[in-house]
């Protein structure tokens, strides 16, 4: 079993693992010839199934195993994230699967050059700020290449057998009632975090409870087929909501929908188009789901990747988010993270 790759985009890889880490501590990582999959299945809450093209994070990529060149690993995300964070300033970084004392590990090798002049410390005492800065800059250009530091971060992992992961399947869901492109997640997160906080404080004050045992707040998310998204929260004491209008409802691709053109005509979203209005004032045409406020906050963590997000609403049933990684090269395999959230009943 072999895996070795040089990391092409450390920043995206770090943001990805950091986002996943907010939902779970361990990820099932499936490495194969043409893609890398990260899957988080927490005991409770949102599942993430991420499928990445090799190129989106790795450059030189080498995988070998007896099982069709597929390697399944269980990886602690916190360790992986902090290891990757330490590589953000690196000149190059590579990762490989190895073994030490019979414990499998992912070894991240980082080559970095220090920004500090190693001999500067002697002379800077007492000298003025500008002199010090000049000295550093000079030394940097003259000796920069010599000072290569090699950092190795070893992340203990568990190798999973093909059998142990064969029982894991991506959730299946009925066709969504509404699909809509979300506004920048920074906006949504800012507002939903605030709503959640207010609701938890309100509940606490009302019943004299502490934050830990206060009833969990449920965010209500609704969208229609006329570019409207509504975020609201309801407690005994208040009812707040925020509405976005003018968003895009992407057209369905007939080749992707079961039954082609006919399938689209009978698609639930086509029926939803007939209801509701673009100003969001109508009571009709909304597909609604109820999500735990804290869980939603964790999901919003993916906003740091800055990708396009399409939300699919199955009314009173589930919400599925497709987060597309920013991709400069047209036509390449797109990398997508899929978040599955089931709706709470009212």
């Amino acid at each position: 079993m072999r895996f070795k790759a040089s990391i092409q985009n450390i920043s995206i890889f770090t943001k990805l693992t950091a986002s996943l880490n907010s939902l779970g501590n361990f990820a099932w990582v499936k490495l194969s010839d043409n893609q890398v999959c990260f899957t988080i299945i927490p005991e409770q809450g949102t599942q993430v199934w991420a499928v990445l093209s090799i190129d989106s994070i790795f450059e030189v990529y080498n995988i070998q195993s007896a099982a069709n060149n597929v390697v399944n690993l269980e990886v602690p995300l916190a360790s992986l994230t902090s290891a990757l964070r330490s590589a953000l300033q690196a000149t190059s970084a590579s990762i490989r699967l190895t073994k030490k004392d019979n414990i499998p590990l992912l070894a991240l090798t980082i080559i970095t050059t220090s920004s500090i002049n190693p001999r500067g410390a002697i002379s800077t005492t007492g000298s003025s700020q500008e002199e010090g800065a000049f000295g550093n800059g000079y030394e940097e250009s003259a000796f920069g290449r010599e000072r290569e530091t090699i950092v190795t971060q070893e992340i203990p992992v568990k190798v999973l057998s093909a059998d142990s992961v064969s029982g894991l399947h991506e959730p299946r869901c009925r066709e969504p009632d509404v699909h809509i492109m979300l506004p920048p997640l920074a906006q949504i997160k800012g507002i939903s975090d605030r709503f959640t906080k207010l609701a938890s404080v309100g509940a606490k004050a009302g019943a004299g409870l502490t934050a830990a045992n206060a009833p969990r707040s449920r965010l209500e998310l609704s969208a229609n087929m006329h570019g409207c998204l509504k975020l609201s929260i309801r407690t005994d004491a208040m009812n707040i909501s925020s509405v976005w209008t003018g968003l895009t409802n992407p057209e369905l691709d007939p080749s992707q929908v079961q039954g082609g053109e006919e399938g689209i005509a009978e698609h639930p979203s086509t029926r939803m188009k007939a209801l509701g209005s673009a100003d969001g004032r109508s009571d009709e045409g909304w597909a609604t789901v109820r999500i735990d406020g804290r869980d939603w906050g964790k999901v919003m963590s993916v906003g740091r990747l800055g990708g396009r997000v399409i939300a699919c609403f199955c009314h009173e049933h589930a919400l599925i988010l497709y987060v597309y990684l920013p991709n400069d090269n047209e036509g390449e395999d797109e990398s997508v993270l899929t978040y599955y959230m089931s709706s709470y009943s009212a």
Binding site: E74, E146, D193
Partner: protein, 432 residues
């Protein structure tokens, strides 16, 4: 009658803050030893595996310095100890920052009130601020015997020095929860490895902290004369504390050691300040050839070691000196017992709190702030909606709500930092 009086410039007071921050990572209490010509702060950790000392030169470090110990002998001294936290709440950060409205000072005057005719013995710190404000702190102290660690530099054949700034960069790579640091040299590279002893198998393996190895070119050291292929293990926490302090002084750090299971010393100097740290080491004994026979016999060479405790040999010695505890016998390949002991030292490591963004109350998440994307933790910053209980009664009878989130977070101790009463309450009673 003892006298200890000294005055500090704001920069020097800020340096004292840095020293106390560093020593507080070793022990809850800090010991102060004053002599005629210098003052030193020392700390010894609870397992006595790490000793830290910072000596300040009376003439260079202080604006004025006067110490007349009770003992008339030339090396008499005044010793006491107090809680690091108490002293830290007096020597706050940014004492030298003129922009800091609350903390900036003009000078700092310290005196010890230790007279039999007074009812109270106090360590008195006067912070003379701008605009004529003077804050006076009277701290209680305990008269103690101070233990100093002795270090035999003649036996420590291995030594190296390196810029603290570089080390500071290296420690940033280390995993948060690691306990030990292995220093190992081989073929022009020095490897600093932070690790934690193996935990049980199974799921636990995944919870093991990162193991980080930083390989540094020997040429990055200012000098390097040390035996290769020898594992010397110390505590990451101690190392981190030392490097962070050395980095505040922008000085270079020297290390001296002989072989694993014998003490290791880090030291550095800066403008009238001499800091030394003596740490117990563990390590792989098998890989290490036996130490070359020391040139000087052990007994006499001890007395030649530098350090504050060297000149006290003939005095009637108020403070009792003690050598570092004897090293644990190297039992097996990996001297696990001593290694565990190092790991045991109290873990009070605190991650630097993330710098709050300029407008933390902004409705939207800042695009560049990566940490802002983390899920909101409602326990950390409580946003409470409560009654306005402030003294501003302009609102009259109308009940008002106000978002008191920021007000509620003002720590209670800060309010106690105001000007200490300089008058008896009875004297100003007439005002009411």
């Amino acid at each position: 009658m003892e006298t200890l009086d000294f005055t500090l410039k704001p920069e020097a007071a800020a340096k004292i803050h840095e020293i106390l921050m560093c020593l507080a990572k070793f022990s809850d209490t800090v010991a102060i030893e004053a002599r005629r010509e210098r003052l030193s702060f020392t700390a010894l950790n609870s397992s006595k595996s790490a000793y830290a000392s910072c000596s300040l030169e009376g003439k260079t470090f202080f604006s004025t310095y006067e110490c007349r110990p009770k003992d008339s002998a030339p090396d008499g001294r005044f010793t006491c100890s107090m809680y690091s936290k108490a002293l830290l709440s007096v020597f706050k950060p940014r004492l030298d920052d003129a922009r800091g409205k609350d903390t900036a000072i003009d000078r700092c005057e310290v005196s010890v009130q230790d007279r039999p005719d007074k009812t109270e013995c106090r360590f008195v710190v006067k912070m003379v601020c701008n605009q004529g404000v003077t804050k006076t702190y009277k701290l209680t102290y305990e008269s103690v015997e101070i233990l100093h660690a002795l270090f035999d530099k003649n036996a420590a054949k291995n030594h190296w020095s390196i810029s603290s700034g570089l080390l500071r960069e290296y420690i940033e790579y280390f995993g948060r929860r690691t306990e030990q640091l292995d220093i190992y040299a081989e073929e022009d590279r020095v490897v600093f490895t932070s690790f934690t002893e193996k935990i049980a198998n199974g799921k636990e393996i995944l919870k093991q902290p990162l193991q980080t190895a930083v390989a540094v070119n020997v040429s990055d050291f200012e000098n390097f004369t040390a035996q290769e292929r020898m594992h010397t293990i110390i505590s990451v926490k101690d190392f981190r504390a030392i490097v962070l302090h050395a980095d505040t002084l922008k000085t270079s750090l020297n290390a001296h050691y002989s072989h694993p299971t014998r003490p290791l010393q880090f030291n550095y100097t800066s403008d009238g300040m001499y800091c030394e740290f003596t740490l117990m080491t563990a390590g792989d004994y098998v890989d290490t050839p036996p130490p070359p026979p020391s040139a000087a016999p052990v007994g006499p060479s001890r007395t030649t070691s530098r350090g504050p405790s060297t000149t006290t040999e003939r005095s009637e010695s108020r403070s009792f000196r003690q050598d570092m505890p004897p090293p644990p016998a190297p039992t097996t390949r990996t001297s696990a017992t001593s290694a565990r002991r190092l790991g045991n030292s109290r873990a009070a490591r605190k991650a630097p709190s993330p710098v709050p963004s300029e407008d933390s109350e902004s409705l939207f998440v800042g695009v560049d702030e990566d940490t802002q994307w983390d899920p909101a933790d409602s326990r950390n910053d409580e946003e409470t909606l409560g009654w306005d209980a402030s003294a501003e009664n302009d609102a009259g009878m109308y009940p008002t709500f106000r978002d008191s989130g920021s007000l509620a977070r003002v720590p209670a101790e800060e309010s106690a930092d105001g000007v200490a009463p300089t008058q008896r309450i009875s004297q100003i009673k007439g005002l009411w």
